[in-house]
Amino acid sequence: MVGYVARRLLQSLGVLLGVSVIVFGLLHLTGDPTRLLLPLEAREEDVRQMRALLGLDDPLWVQYARFLTRAVRGDFGLSFKHQVPALTLIFQTLPATLQLTGAGLCFALVVAVPAGILAALKRNSILDAACSVGVLLGQAMPVYWLGLLLIMVFAVGLGWFPAAGRDGWSSLVLPATALGAFSMARIARMARSGMLEVLAQDYVRTARAAGIRAFVVTYKYALKNAAIPLVTIVGLEFGILLGGAVITETIFAWPGVGRLAVDAIFSRDYPLVQAIVAVLATLFVVINLVVDLVYTWLDPRIVYVRSVR
């Protein structure tokens, strides 16, 4: 177990190192970053001065090493637009994003898990059919369209919830629903097939044959085992939700990291873009590390399978 944890930690660090290469490369993509940073009509000597200031005349690997040593300490430089350390801006907006993605994930789980399980228990019923239609629609609806529809119906039409901004719980309902819908569809599908698989296992049949009440068999024995694969996808879903938050926050004017990122990209605020990508990727890696460790704790067979390979 300790060996596995250590290996998994090392692997996560490797991934973060790879992320840093891509984040670093983002700025150098167009050749000369000074051209991105300065207005088009900048004079030649200004460009030269800027190059010297940013250390762009050094060899690329020296620049990367410098970038990495600073990034590890959380120093991504000042945001061009706001003239504040990029990380400060992110930490100001991150709570809003975490609140939105957390609410989206909760909403997805609360609807999808019971729906998937019921669909599996009442297989081929009307409920099952309704569930699979919901899954198909949920997977086909782009988040920005669903967001606009929700605004049209529930904000403009019925006036139940605000259309934009972050002001109390009622403002969270529409963005969280829009963001969570896609994950809801995927989780419901997984829950259904997972439950079906477990229900077909020998130990469920044995428990039933032994005369244990159907309720206990379903909700105690089967459900526990069906929950295990769901834990891993929650980690992956979280990454998908963080990506989806970029668009959701733009539509609902939600003051989170996603909107900050879109704004930073359009104002060529490269230090801020780099910092945001790095922070979100780190968040994803850490969450998946935790999920993996929880997973091995829930299902000890996993460690043995991996160490054999």
């Binding site: 692997q11 490797g14 991934v15 973060l16 790879g18 992320v19 290469v21 891509i22 983002l26 993509l29 167009t30 991105l36 081929n124 198909l136 629609l137 997977q139 086909a140 609806m141 782009p142 988040v143 920005y144 369209w145 606009l148 529809l149 605004i151 049209m152 403009v156 990454g239 963080l242 990506g243 989806g244 970029v246 668009i247 733009t250 539509i251 990122a261 879109v262 990209i265 359009f266 060529r268 873009v273 945001i276 990508v277 979100l280 990727a281 994803f284 890696v285």
Partner: protein, 291 residues
């Protein structure tokens, strides 16, 4: 045993019938969408970029103030929605298909290499896969497209370069089991070189999952393209795209519902059709596949 056989047979038949209905639905919607995209110049009643300011924001024909020349209404610049939807389909499907092809080329080559040669190369490629999984691809794509300039080619390039991971993972897993099979050992014993072995013996046997992933990824790419368009980083105007039309409609959610609703409906129908087809392909070709 007989009890099992009796309950299993009708269930299987029912399953087959339902699956094939879904597939037929998916295929016909897709053919309709594809056909109207290809024939857009012939089918579209108007030039999609033509502005008719006197006929701004007209609703679809079945509503009051609707005009019969504009069956699905007009937008805020008086452009015909139906014509724009038809032309937009060309971008969505065209970009989607090219981007999937590109990402399949990258992903399949890397997956084949990783699975077949194993060792350090495999470890390296799989770590790169992890890196790409960790970065929110939409942010990466936005950053890159913005830096390079939002042109048709760049959009396709970036979409292909950020989504190859799925292909690499599934192909690697498939190759790991194929390379242990006897026909591969036999081909090797006959003196086949590695490259020939890969292309003639391993790749054809990994084709099923590649086809399935490609279909499901196409659905994804269509959403991806319109998301970039929606954010203003897709193919640039005056070329009409569904995502761009949605973004235009954003400012009129209160007054002109059709502007944002119709392009979204087009995206959803197309994605739904492709997904249905992908599900059916997976269930028929290889039910054990989990993608």
């Amino acid at each position: 045993m007989s009890v099992v056989a009796h309950t299993a047979a009708p269930a299987l038949a029912r399953r087959r019938r339902r699956v094939s209905f879904r597939a037929a639905f998916g295929l016909s919607v897709l053919l309709l969408m594809g056909g109207s995209a290809i024939l857009a110049p012939q089918l579209a009643p108007w030039d999609p970029a033509k502005q008719m300011l006197l006929k701004r924001l007209r609703p679809p024909v079945w509503q009051e103030r609707g005009l019969s020349q504009h069956p699905l209404g007009t937008d805020h610049l008086g452009r015909d929605i139906l014509s724009r939807l038809l032309y937009g389909g060309r971008i969505s499907l065209g970009v989607g298909l090219t981007a999937v092809t590109l990402s399949a080329l990258i992903g399949v080559s890397l997956g084949l290499t990783a699975g077949f040669f194993g060792g350090r190369l495999d470890a390296l490629i799989m770590r790169v896969v992890d890196v790409f999984l960790a970065i929110p691809y939409i942010l990466l794509a936005m950053g890159v497209v913005f830096a390079l300039g939002p042109s048709l080619g760049n959009v396709i390039l970036v979409m292909g370069a950020t989504r190859w991971v799925q292909f690499a993972r599934i192909v690697r897993a498939e190759v790991l089991s194929i390379r242990e099979r006897e026909f591969v050992a036999g081909a090797r014993a006959r003196g086949n070189r590695s490259l020939r072995l890969l292309l003639h013996h391993v790749l054809p046997n990994a084709l099923t999952p590649i086809i399935v992933v490609a279909t499901l990824e196409l659905a994804f790419m269509i959403i991806y393209e319109s998301a970039l368009s929606f954010l203003g980083l897709g193919v640039q105007p005056p070329t009409p795209t569904w995502g761009w039309m949605l973004a235009d409609g954003r400012n009129y959610v209160a007054s002109a519902w059709w502007l944002a609703t119709l392009p979204g409906l087009a995206i959803m129908l197309t994605v739904l059709a492709v997904n249905l087809l992908g599900d059916w392909l997976r269930d028929t070709l290889d039910p054990r596949l989990t993608v």
